[in-house]
């Protein structure tokens, strides 16, 4: 574990750490453009140049400097200020002053570093080089080649992450230009990440273009629900409206990336099939009436309780607790995907399993005496073992190829085959609309958080289920999600005493007391 000094501050770091990372651990921010902790070192922007006081020769770039005993660097000297100022000046020599019309404005590394390290004035009396603007690289990405600062992050992404080798820097000198092989288009499932890693407005989102100035957006950390990987995301929203998802770094789950399919679910809570109001026998009604109708349907019947592999842990917990009040009821966790799921997978982040919380549903089932599979349920329904079925979020009927019973209660967010045959449909809040937890395919418990108000009459799934319980026999869990989770954790040795407040930003690994994602820093 080498011991290094940054601006006089001593810090002990892991082997293999570079000095940008070491400085961060010492609380010193070293500005940079081309360095990205999940890509190889390029060392071309020169913004991270620092003075070396001991243990090496400087000035030199911090990103390519391995921490080793006795290394002491300085970032607060006049020389370093001058070097940073000059790099900013050089970057702006040919960079177009597009800020007023550029989407990146407000989250642009060039702007940020200029305001901190620039020299506040232009000495340029010559012509800037131009390059083609507004090039469509694909349905998702627009390239403005003039804004590019040749940091090569997008090139490295294509070579190292997606192995598509698409974006390249062509020509040389200050006419170096980023682009694709003419006539080709970007063609992989991770294009959105290019927008994230591009430090300037060269690569931007076609969909998001001119939609919202980013300084209006607030950020809420959450989890993607596209598949069982559970990529960590940030939900960006303003005044109750979600505008986009961006990935949030988690070395144990998704590194710095997320797939395009998942990214495009940002608008899912708003799409045409969203259930906004309760329905009884096809007619819209208020929540209370629906809860009462549901209770009537369940009372005295043998009920199949289908836990939601797409529902929260808290929602599933309340479903199980409800089940404990219904004699003769049984829990089921259905395998497979909903018919409406797009089943594509790759060897990066996307997995076949499109349910964000299958592991969670199974964990709830385990502490509640076990659950049957979809085949079990199918044969049970065929054998008329159950009179009623209450389903949380999953398209149970769809997964069973149409098998159902006359009395179905569906609690969920989007219309599907189950809601179509359900006698009672109860609106649940989308995951951007309430606080809860999922467990991903690797057993990492992750929190999703409320960014916007629940749409229509919807309530968090655990509250919605408890309302049915209230109408039936009295509350089984209350409406405090944290308490519900705590109750589950008490019953589950695997959760090992975890609570909402103990789950860190990078998740909680089942079976351990360790925080998942506490990290050896990557490259």
């Amino acid at each position: 574990m080498p011991v290094v000094k940054v601006d006089g501050i001593e810090v002990t770091v892991e082997n293999g750490v570079n000095m940008i990372q070491a400085a961060a651990l010492a609380g010193v921010d070293i500005p940079h453009f081309c360095y990205h902790q999940d890509l190889s070192i390029a060392g071309n922007c020169r913004m991270c140049l620092v003075d070396v006081e001991a243990g090496g020769r400087g000035p030199d770039i911090a990103c390519n400097m391995q921490a080793r005993d006795g290394l002491e660097i300085r970032t607060d000297s006049d020389n370093v200020s001058k070097m940073r100022e000059s790099v900013m000046e050089f970057l702006l020599k040919n960079h177009p002053l597009d800020c007023p019309v550029c989407d990146q404005s407000g989250e642009c590394t060039l702007q940020d570093h200029y305001s901190d390290h620039g020299n506040n004035g232009s000495r340029l009396a010559d012509i800037k080089n131009h390059a083609p603007k507004r090039q469509t690289l694909s349905e998702k990405i627009i390239l403005d080649a003039e804004r590019c600062i040749a940091c090569s992050r997008c090139v490295r992404f294509g070579d190292e992450i997606t192995n598509t080798g698409d974006l390249r820097l062509f020509e040389r000198t200050d006419h170096t230009e980023i682009g694709l092989f003419p006539g080709e288009a970007l063609d992989h499932g991770y294009q959105g990440n290019l927008i994230d890693i591009c430090p300037v407005g060269a690569l931007t989102s076609r969909e998001f273009r001119f939609q919202k100035r980013v300084w209006y957006l607030r950020e809420t950390p959450s989890i993607c629900t596209g598949c069982a990987t559970g990529c960590n995301i940030v939900v960006e929203h303003q005044s109750g409206e979600v505008f986009r998802f961006k990935p949030r770094r988690n070395p144990s789950v998704n590194s710095s990336w997320m797939c395009d399919e998942g990214r495009e679910t940002w608008n899912q809570s708003n799409d045409a099939s969203r259930i906004l109001m309760a329905k009884v026998e096809g007619s819209r009604t208020d929540f209370a009436a629906a809860a009462t109708a549901a209770a009537e349907l369940l009372s005295g019947k043998k009920v199949a309780i289908v836990l939601g592999t797409k529902g929260s842990n808290e929602g599933n917990r309340v479903m199980a607790l409800l089940g404990s009040k219904l004699e003769g009821s049984k829990l089921f966790v259905l395998g497979g995907n909903d018919p409406s799921d797009v089943t594509s997978s790759d060897n990066l982040l996307k997995v076949e399993d499109k349910s964000p919380n299958r592991a969670g549903a199974k964990l709830v089932a385990d502490v509640s005496g076990g659950a049957g599979t979809e085949n079990d349920l199918k044969s049970a329904l065929a054998g008329r073992e159950f009179d009623a079925m209450v389903v949380l979020q999953d398209d149970a009927v769809g997964r069973m190829g149409g098998a159902t019973v006359p009395n179905v209660i569906f609690i969920g967010t989007h219309a599907n085959e189950t809601s179509a045959v359900a006698k009672v449909v109860i609106p649940a809040a989308a995951h951007v609309e309430f606080n809860g937890t999922f467990i991903n395919k690797d057993g990492i418990v992750q929190r999703f958080r409320r960014a916007v108000h629940p749409s229509g009459d919807s309530l968090p799934d655990y509250s919605a289920v408890d309302k049915v319980a209230v109408a039936l026999c009295g509350s089984v869990a209350g409406s405090d999600g944290a308490e519900i989770f705590a109750g589950l954790a008490k019953d589950s040795p695997e959760l090992n005493g975890a609570s909402w407040s103990s789950i860190s930003g990078t998740g909680h690994q089942i079976g351990s007391t360790q925080t998942a994602g506490a990290a050896a820093p990557s490259k």
Binding site: G43, N44, M83, F90, R123, I127, T176
Partner: protein, 445 residues
């Protein structure tokens, strides 16, 4: 000047010196067998003791560079590569082409010995793309050598296997930088790489690699034949042996000269290179290829032709020995503008200061050359050069900056005069009659 052996140029007058038959008559390959049976470390030591310094421009002791390569155990069985840098693109330099044209077998023998010492089994000669006609001749020489059992398997029955290939560049000065050359031969863009890792440890294809200049390798057989002592007896204490100097510009006899290190620069120019043209006086000399600082006549009069003297006397470098002589008819502003156009054309574009800054400096100089500039522009120009120097991935940034810094330092009056004379042409309305395209004039700070 005492008599000294013509180590490199000995056979250049023979029009057939490039053939194996003539080469052998001249003594090439006569020390090869002995070397291939020597202790490898002993060969490296001999070259180190001879004081042979890299002839490509950096002047780094060749023997020491060879000793950086880790031994077989440390490098875990990875092969070692030797690459001869025949990219010769530094303006003012034109010696390596003649070495290869007239005496390819000298180079080949040098490479076999070097490869043996380095435990290298495959080596390449990277020639600039424009040298195709020279490459053809080198290929012929390699074929001759191979047919004679001097290359390939079990050379001269010593058990040493060694293959030598040529590789054609395609027009990029930057590929003369060793890590850029390595990138290029790997099939990547010819862009320099970050150091560490250093090529001797992790170079071409991830393996230990030594890159040496043509002249450096060509000298090796003579050193092995005549001994380190004999080599270091020539020249000065720190700059041993002879060197090929390429002389161009305003001298009566431009050309390639092999001289021992250490003779006075003035006598070299006047007595050996024929001096200046009649009626002209010396104005400036760039001693070691366009990338090194320019020297004034006063500095020239004090300098001798070796690494140390040139640096002490003028702050410049011996470099590649590509000497450009300029007389009083030279417009120093135009000369600098010409050079910066070259550098702007050759920048690989990888890192910020060089990519943006060299092009910018060239733009300013083009304006300056026409007089369309101000005193502030001179300040900015120097500041840009200072901001590029030593802040870049490779030495190219410094190569572009040093001409600017040295010309401004030593010939400033001429720059100011050009601005003044243009100003004098400004009409009463304040509109310069001399201004051309240069973009909107943002006020200087």
């Amino acid at each position: 000047m005492d008599s000294y052996p013509r180590i490199l140029t000995k056979n250049w007058e023979n029009p057939n010196s490039h053939t194996l038959e003539e080469a052998k008559k001249a003594g090439q390959y006569s020390v090869l067998e002995k070397c291939l049976k020597m202790d490898r470390q002993a060969i490296k030591q001999e070259v180190l003791d001879a004081g042979l310094r890299g002839r490509g421009g950096a002047g780094f002791p060749a023997g020491r560079k060879w000793m950086f390569v880790p031994d077989a155990e440390k490098r875990q069985g990875k092969p070692v590569y030797l690459i001869c840098n025949a990219d010769e693109s530094e303006p003012g330099t034109f010696k390596d082409r003649y070495c290869m044209w007239h005496d390819p077998h000298m180079l080949i023998e040098g490479m076999i010995i070097a490869a043996y010492a380095l435990e290298c089994k495959t080596a390449y000669i990277y020639l600039r793309g424009e040298f195709k006609f020279i490459q053809d001749r080198v290929d012929d020489a390699i074929a001759e050598a191979k047919a004679a059992g001097l290359l390939g398997k079990n050379i001269l029955g010593t058990g040493f296997d060694f293959e030598l290939y040529t590789h054609q560049g395609a027009g990029a000065y930057i590929c003369g930088e060793e890590t850029a050359l390595i990138s290029s031969i790997e099939g990547e863009r010819g862009q320099p790489r970050l150091k560490p890792p250093f090529p001797a440890v992790e170079g071409a294809w991830g393996c230990p690699t030594v890159v040496n200049n043509v002249e450096t390798l060509a000298v090796v057989p003579w050193i092995m034949k005549n001994g380190a002592k004999a080599y270091s007896a020539i020249g000065t204490e720190k700059a041993t042996g002879t060197k090929l100097f390429s002389v161009s510009g305003h001298v009566m006899k431009p050309g390639v000269y092999e001289i021992p290190m250490g003779i006075p620069m003035t006598s070299f120019i006047n007595d050996i290179c024929g001096g200046l043209k009649p009626g002209r006086t010396l104005k400036a000399v760039i001693p070691g290829g366009s990338s090194v600082p320019v020297m004034t006549p006063e500095e020239v009069s004090k300098a001798t032709m070796d690494y140390e003297s040139i640096q002490e006397v003028s702050g410049s470098y011996l470099g590649s020995g590509g000497m450009i002589v300029m007389d009083d008819t030279t417009d120093m502003v135009s000369a600098l503008s010409n050079l910066l156009r070259f550098y702007a054309h050759e920048s690989c574009g990888q890192c910020t200061p060089c990519r943006e800054g060299v092009g910018w400096m060239s733009q300013i100089l083009i304006r300056l050359d026409k007089g369309d500039a101000s005193d502030d522009d001179l300040e900015i120009l120097l500041d840009l050069a200072n901001n590029i120097h030593s802040k870049t991935i490779c030495f190219f940034g410094a190569s572009a900056a040093m001409p600017v810094q040295s010309f401004l330092q030593k010939f400033k009056p001429e720059f100011l005069a050009k601005i003044e004379s243009a100003r004098a042409k400004i009409s009463p309305q304040g509109i310069s009659t001399n201004s051309e395209a240069g973009g909107p004039r943002a006020g200087a700070k």
